[in-house]
Each structure stands twice: as C-alpha cells, then as structure tokens.
Amino acid sequence: MQTFDLEARGLRDLNSTLQAQKDATNQTAWEIVNARGSHAIAVGLDAPIEVTVKGSTGYYCGGMNKQATIHIDGSAGPGVAENMMSGTVIVEGDASQYAGATGHGGLLVIKGNASSRCGISMKGLDIVVHGNIGHMSAFMAQSGNLVVCGDAGDALGDSLYEARLFVRGAVKSLGADCEEKEMRPEHLEILRDLLERAGCDAKPEEFRRYGSARKLYNFDVDNAAAY
C-alpha cells in the first residue's frame, strides 16, 4: 500500500503519480490521506489500480477514469466520476450534483444519497445508488443503467434516450418522454448483476423500470408543449 499525503505533496504530484502507473504496475494499492475536500482528486487515471481516498472529496473526483477502482471513504462533491470510461468508483457517503455525468462506461456506486442530476447525459455508465436521488436525474441520459434503491425526485429521466432506469421506491414525477416500462426477465438479470456488484442486498423484483417513450426522438411541432 502506497500512502500519499495530499496536503503535503499537492494535487499535481498526486495526479501525475497516479497517471504514471502502467497496466503491469506492482503498485496497485494507493491510499490518499488529507483529502480535505480537494477538487479533481484521482482524475484521468488509466491503470488497474485501487485508490482509496480517506475523507470527503470536492468536485470531479475520479473524473474520466479508465480501469482504476476508486473508493471514496466519505462523501463526494459535484461531478464525481464524470465522463468515466471504465473502472469503478465507490462513494461510501453521499454524492452531490451531477454524479456520473456523461459517463461512457464503468460502475459508479453511491452508498448514501445522490443529489440532483445524477446520471445526467450518461452514455453507457452504470450507476447504483443505495439511497435516494434528486430532481432531474438521468436528464438526456443516452445509455447505461441507473439503479436507485430509494426514491427519485422530480422529473426523472427528462428527455431520456436509451438509458434504463430502475427505481425501488417512489418517483416524485417523470420528466418529458419518460414512462414506466415492462420489467422483463432480461432486465431482472441486468439488475441482479448490478446490485450484486454494488454490494446491495435489495431484490430485483422490488424495482420498477422506466425508459424513454421515444415520442420526442424526432422534432415534431405538435409535441412542443411537452417541453
């Protein structure tokens, strides 16, 4: 285990050190101490390493991650795992706005609650939230899966494309062009796998599935009032 004191060595040193790790590195375990809510911790990584951040993080922790597993032993600020390509980011606490925004791949696990716009414009990422999510989550979400074990706020899945949304609790309201869909066996399989990988003991059968009604996919003036 390599221990990195962020306060003592600074952000540039941290990110350049982690970004320099190669696929075959033997230094696979890293612990970052004194994070103190710093922004842009462990961004742009591209190696199969495991990074544990002791404490809470500021904006964009794990941004554009590839391959790495990043464990935040606290809460995460806005844009955690934004544009993630692959790998895993796990938040032990809560996550602020835009968690997993525009992510292309990998798995984001939030063990607490996520704020508004969770999964906004996601493009293939999988997100599992053990708690609740805020309003406008999955806005314009393109692909991937968003699993919510608690409740969802207003306007879930507004202007949704092809992402799948699974919610166990209540949905305050659905956004434009988002509707409840039939839960088929293949969806239960996807859900079972994601819940297992996210360390969540909820049962797939307890969830409802939401997706795009695909009525707004092509602009039609008759739909203008829907926006």
Binding site: H39, K66, Y98, Q142, Y161, F219
Partner: protein
C-alpha cells in the same frame, strides 16, 4: 384619351411596406402554413455594423510605411502562454473555427485539416468528437469540450493540442443545437452513442458545472487530466463581452474565443440567429478592455470570429486588439460551399448559389454539409484543402499589405490609432474616431 390621361395622373404608385416587406410577408405565410419556426444554418444575414465600416489610415508624413514587397511583416502568433506548458505556435493569426463531424462530412473535416496545416495554423473539432481524418491531417488541433460531450474521452483530450471549453457561440448565444435525423449516419450515431436516425440535441449548458466558480474547477480538472500541457480556450458568444471575458479570465482561461452574431452554425432557429447576440465589431473593444483591466492583454490571448472574410477584416480585428481570428463560413466557401457550379441543383432545392443555408437537411450539392455518401463523393478533400490553404494565404498577404502600409513589421503592431470609422455606429462600437474627426461617441473628454 382624356380618360386615360386622367387615370394616369390620379393613379397612386404601389408602395411596398418597409415594415411588412416581401421577405417578412413570405415568412408570415410560411409560418402560417407550417406552424413551426424556420431552422437554417449559417450566421446572421441582416446587415449590421461590421469591419466594412472601418478604414485604415495609411502612413504618410506623420508615420512612414514599410516597403510592401521587401520589408518583413511578421505574422506568427503563440496561443496559450498563460498557464499551458505547451502553447500553440501558429505561422498565421487566422485559425479554423470549430465545426462538427456530423454537420460536416468526414472528407470536409479532412480538407479543413489539410488546408490549415499547409498554411501553418490550427483547426478545431466541434460537437461530435474527434475524427481520425481531422486528427491525422491537422498538425495543430483544438478539441472542443462541449455541453453534449458527444465522443468526449481522455485519450482524445490528450491527443489534442489545445482544449476549447465552449460556453456559447455567436450564432446562438444561450442556445444548444440539433442535428436532425437525416444526417445521423451509422458512423455519426456510433460516435455520439445514440440510435441512428433520431434528432440529436446538444444541450445549451454544461451538464456538470454552472457559473464561473464551477468553470474554474472544471478547467483545473482538465489541466490535471492533461498534465497542464494544453492551452485551455474558453469560447463565448458575443453578448456581454466585458463581463464574460472577465469571468473567463478569472476562471483560468489561457485564451478567450469571442464569436459575434455573424458566426455560423450548422442549424438553429432563424429568429435566434438574427435576433440574439451582437455583431463582432461591438464585441472586441469591451473584451480587450476586460483583458487590459485585468492586466492580461496579450498574456491571455483573444481570438475573435464571426464574419471574417478578407485580409482587411483580419487586420481590423487585430488592430482592435485581438491576437488572432477564426474563420468558419469563409473556410466552407473556400472548400466549395455554395459554389455557382451547383446552381442547377440549388434551384431544385428552392434556393440559389450563395443563399443555400439548409445545411441541417443533409442535401448539400457541394457534398460538404452532408453525410450522404453520393453527395460526399463529389468533394475532393485534397483539392478542398489546397483551396483552403490558398484562401488562408491570401487573407494573410492582404493583412500584411495593410500592416506594412501602416508602418508595422508585425500584424500585432496594428492598433486602433490606425483606424477611422465611416459611420457613427461603427465609431461607437469600435471606439475609433469618425473619419476626419478626433471624436467617437462615448469618448472621454467630449
């Protein structure tokens, strides 16, 4: 005969309304028939105060000129000197503005790269990601970071020579975009991670930041991902240039890109293009003022765009304080867009050469703003690149000619004192004296 004479004398001449003109009436009829606003490409078509309303004051006795064919007039410019470890060095201060793969064909993007590289300047990606055609043929490539994040990934970010965070553009400041389904080929759909054939919306604001404080952190993240090597540009539409430039500087931009309302777009509402934003002429001086007030003029470079057509426009933009300009529509015309040789086909589309602006429909006879394989095949990227290189060379030679006549051995030595204005409006916007006077509206002390 008498009656006819009487009729001739008493008959009123038909007068068209200036308010309800024929074009306005045609638009009213079109709106009544369809129930939807007009969508088109390009920039503002209305006449607005522009660089044509300024003139250069060539040297005579009070200043002496440089010999036009012998004495050196440098054109080089470096962008990104504030924080980036690897600033971009260009041979000429004319760059190619961001235009997406999707709105343009792959060969058109290749031609932009070829032409820009041959002329020693940069080209810019656009919404929709980075294509191999463009990266492969561009020695200097600016990678746009847009709200949609279509195709955004850290590998391309690191392959870029600079990163341009797009906050807005002159044709539609405050607006997003729409790529209609007919232009969504398999390749475009794959790059954008969306189904083929659906309309693809580009958001009007970024998904993971709002406001200048967030932007500062976003720029920090991008610098950390790319090792602080790449210059970070911030592109804004011309609406509140003083404040927006100030905030872009505060957020940590290396370069501010300022786009006026004449700047083009692949597609948006005509009412947006013609009625939102300001002419580039009105934007440059407030932006330069903001840079000067921060003590960063020339340290943070200013690139301006929107209606740059000639070397005179280039020279005037630089004289007002810009470090470089960007061209989009002019570059497309140089490639062959709206060329008269396709007139017969333009007429079939209900338009004419020079007026064709339905770029979003994907039926471009010139094969540039389309994804239709048959139309794309009409366009030769090698010839297009050569034409663009020639055009860039002419822009540079023209600007040099003017700079030498004003006595300058570098284009960046052009200054507002080299200019006068033909109209009150241009004088006020450019803050240069009305021709033959020492005065412009708003000048202190008058």
């Amino acid at each position: 005969m008498k009656d006819e004479q009487q009729r001739f004398v008493s008959q009123t001449v038909p007068i068209q309304s200036a308010t309800f003109s024929n074009p306005i009436n045609a638009e009213i009829r079109r709106a009544a028939a369809t129930g939807i606003y007009d969508i088109r490409g390009g920039g503002a078509k209305r006449k607005v105060p522009h660089f044509d309303d300024l003139l250069f004051l060539g040297a005579s006795i009070s200043r002496y000129p440089l010999e036009g064919y012998r004495e050196k007039c440098d054109t080089r410019v470096t962008l990104g000197t504030r924080f980036a470890k690897k600033p971009i060095e260009l041979d000429i201060p004319v760059t190619i503005a961001g235009m997406s793969f999707g709105s343009l064909s792959g060969p058109a993007k290749e031609a932009l790269g070829r032409g820009a590289s041959a002329a020693g300047t940069s080209t810019t990606t656009g919404d929709g990601g980075m294509t191999e055609e463009e990266r492969g043929h561009s020695t200097k490539l600016v990678y746009q970071y847009l709200p949609s994040r279509y195709g955004m990934n850290p590998d391309d970010l690191r392959r870029a020579d600079a990163i341009e965070v797009v906050v807005g553009q002159g044709a539609k400041p405050g607006g997003g975009g729409m790529l209609l389904g007919q232009k969504i080929s398999d390749r475009v759909a794959e790059m954008r991670n969306l189904p083929k054939g659906i309309d693809q919306r580009s958001a009007c604001r970024h998904p993971d930041w709002t406001g200048p404080d967030d932007l500062e952190i976003k720029i920090l993240e991008l610098r950390e991902i790319t090792g602080w090597e790449k210059p970070i540009y911030v592109k804004i539409g011309g609406t509140r240039p003083y404040f927006d430039t100030t905030l872009a500087i505060k957020a940590g931009a290396d370069v501010v890109v300022l786009d006026g309302m004449q700047g083009g777009t692949a597609a948006t509402q005509d009412v947006f293009i013609e009625h939102v934003g300001m002419p580039i002429l009105a934007c440059i001086r407030p932006a330069v003022q903001a840079l000067q007030d921060q003590g960063l003029h020339r340290e943070v470079q200013l690139v301006v765009s929107g209606g740059i057509r000639t070397g005179a426009d280039v020279a005037k933009a630089l004289a007002l304080g810009a470090d470089a300009v960007a061209i989009g529509t002019g570059a497309l015309i140089a490639l062959g867009d709206n060329a008269p040789k396709w007139e017969e086909e333009y007429r079939k589309l209900g338009t004419t050469s020079g007026a064709y602006d339905d770029w979003h429909e994907g039926q471009d006879p010139a094969g540039i703003t389309t994804q239709n394989p048959e139309l794309m095949a009409r366009f030769d990227p090698i010839e297009g690149g050569r034409h663009l290189k020639n055009y860039l060379k002419v822009l540079t030679l023209e600007a040099q000619t003017i700079a030498r006549a004003c006595g300058h051995n570098h284009l960046h030595n052009l200054e507002p004192e080299d200019l006068c204005a033909l109209t009150m409006e241009a004088a006020a916007m450019a803050r240069v004296p009305l021709a033959g006077t020492e005065w412009y509206p708003g000048k202190p002390g008058f």
